[in-house]
Amino acid sequence: MRDATIKAYRNKRETIAKEDVESALEKLRRTYDRTLTEAHKRRALAIHESKEARDLDKDDGISRELLFSLTAVEYEDENGRWCDVDPLLLPLVEKWKMRE
């Protein structure tokens, strides 16, 4: 949102345009897509399917890394705690699924 806001400001727009948001999101997705390893991507897909983020054992930190880097996020509601990939990154999930 900050990225989109500053772009709108720079372009002298009083409101944030859709293209400002799209361009900021695209940059964020590109960065995550590049940064995450194949193991991270596989785990992100698993989190998306199961809505749970657990490391396999004490030496496995992949789910933790996904949560820390905000690739995956934790929610709490009337159904208890559950996890999913950050909704902003869901288009990447679709892309990774197609490569599986």
Partner: protein
């Protein structure tokens, strides 16, 4: 008839390729402009802006350009302690931006410092701009996620051709004079045509030299480099020393424009030696001028002044008015860098008068644009805006890549003037 068709095809090719080059340059310029806008709105407050640039020379060019707009404190980081000590010292009096340059690799110690002391970046009361390579940022996302989450914006620069366009406008030591972009393109076509027809190798070297200069002025650095390397090869083969010196000099300018300052110095040095052996005083002055610009880029202002003075002295002897105007402009920039704004104004004024008398439109635009930055530093925003508008108009007429920079400056100044009026 066939020649006419060839000319037409070449002209069409030139029309097609130019917007592509411009678009590539614009991407980075727009990103840099966004950084500037963000730094403007963050004045006097903490902010954490990340910026990815892979080549250190390119990064340094951007830092130099930003430092001319914001009083910056540059903090090279090697280990975590550098970050902690600098932030805890709170020694930011008069500083508008903290510029951090990260090392190649994110060590565990540095990741811990960024994670654990991330709040200090905001407590500093001054925006921080953190430069790192792509691989460093990738590591940050994985290994310093708290710092990553705490960031403001982040920017990625692609550093394509002409990426150093955001440097302060300099008076380069080129001999080509032209009226507008059409004039430049016309000369390009004529030279390309002549190159196909010419039999004499020395003449071919001269044509390649001018084609190199034209391509450089149009911002097409790859093509300029090809022409100049051809010129160098031919000149060496026929032992045409003037051609060797000229091509080395211009290749040095290309290296400088793309941020390879070490290679630029080597090439200028080689060229200078040949010119000295030939007794080519004007050429020597030109080399000294460029070496002065290199020293200025590297922050060695004393050495820059010595070289400009030496160059100016040589140019004054044979009455090389254009060269004198160029030197006066650079000495003005030096005075501006040193904070002597009155002296800078005097030198720009002298330089401008000579260029106007000579009808040197490109030189006039360069000095007007630099004067605009000077007026801005003194808070005379309306005057600054008038000057940059005038400069932009000329750059556009000339088809100069510097028009992009002038446009960015003009837009920024328009915003500042508007903000000022709203607060009045």
């Amino acid at each position: 008839m066939e020649d006419a068709r060839v000319e037409e095809a070449k002209a069409e090719a030139a029309r097609i390729e130019e917007p592509i080059l411009e678009e590539e340059r614009t991407e980075d310029l727009e990103e840099i402009d966004t950084i500037i806008a963000e730094l403007e709105v963050s004045r006097g407050r903490g902010n954490l802006i990340l910026c990815v640039v892979n080549a250190p020379a390119y990064r340094d060019g951007i830092i130099r350009a930003l430092s001319r707009r914001f009083r910056s404190k540059i903090i090279p980081v090697q280990e975590g302690e550098d970050v902690i000590q600098s932030l805890k010292s709170g020694d930011f009096d008069g500083v508008e931006v903290l510029v951090w340059t990260m090392p190649e690799k994110l060590t565990e110690d540095l990741a811990d410092a960024l994670n654990n002391f991330r709040e200090l970046f905001y407590d500093a009361g001054v925006p921080s701009l953190v430069f790192s390579s792509q691989s460093f940022l990738d590591d940050v996302i994985r290994r310093a996620p708290d710092f990553w989450r705490y960031r403001g914006n982040y920017h990625e620069l692609k550093e394509r051709d002409g990426g150093l366009a955001f440097e302060a406008i300099k008076a380069l030591s080129t001999s080509l004079r032209y009226q507008n972009k059409e004039d430049l393109l016309r000369r390009k076509r004529i030279n390309e045509h002549l190159l196909e027809k010419v039999k004499d190798e020395r003449e071919a070297a001269k044509i390649l030299d001018e084609l190199g200069q034209i391509s450089y002025l149009l911002g097409d650095y790859d093509r300029a480099s090809n022409y100049l390397k051809q010129e160098l090869k031919i000149s060496e083969e026929i032992d045409y020393k003037k051609g060797v010196a000229s091509s080395l000099h211009q290749l040095g300018m290309l290296a400088q424009a793309t941020g390879d300052l070490i290679e630029a110095r080597r090439l200028y040095g080689e060229s200078l030696k040949i010119k000295q052996d030939l007794g080519d005083k004007s050429g020597v002055a030109s080399s000294l001028h460029q070496l002065g610009m290199l020293a200025q880029d590297e922050g060695d202002l004393g050495e820059a002044r010595r070289l400009y003075d030496e160059s100016l002295k040589i140019k004054q002897d044979p009455g090389d008015k254009s060269g004198v105007a160029s030197s006066l402009h650079q000495l003005g920039m030096l005075a501006q860098d040193e904070g002597d704004l009155g002296e800078a104004r005097r030198l720009y004024g002298e330089s401008l008068k000579i260029k106007q008398d000579l009808g040197d439109k490109s030189g006039v635009a360069i000095t007007l644009a630099q004067s605009a930055l000077l007026e801005e530093m003194e808070g005379k925003l309306e005057r600054s805006l008038d000057l940059i508008r005038e400069a932009e108009k000329i750059f556009l007429e000339l088809g100069s890549p510097t028009a992009l920079q002038a446009r960015q400056d003009r837009e920024r100044l328009e915003q500042k003037v508007l903000n000022k009026k709203m607060h009045e």
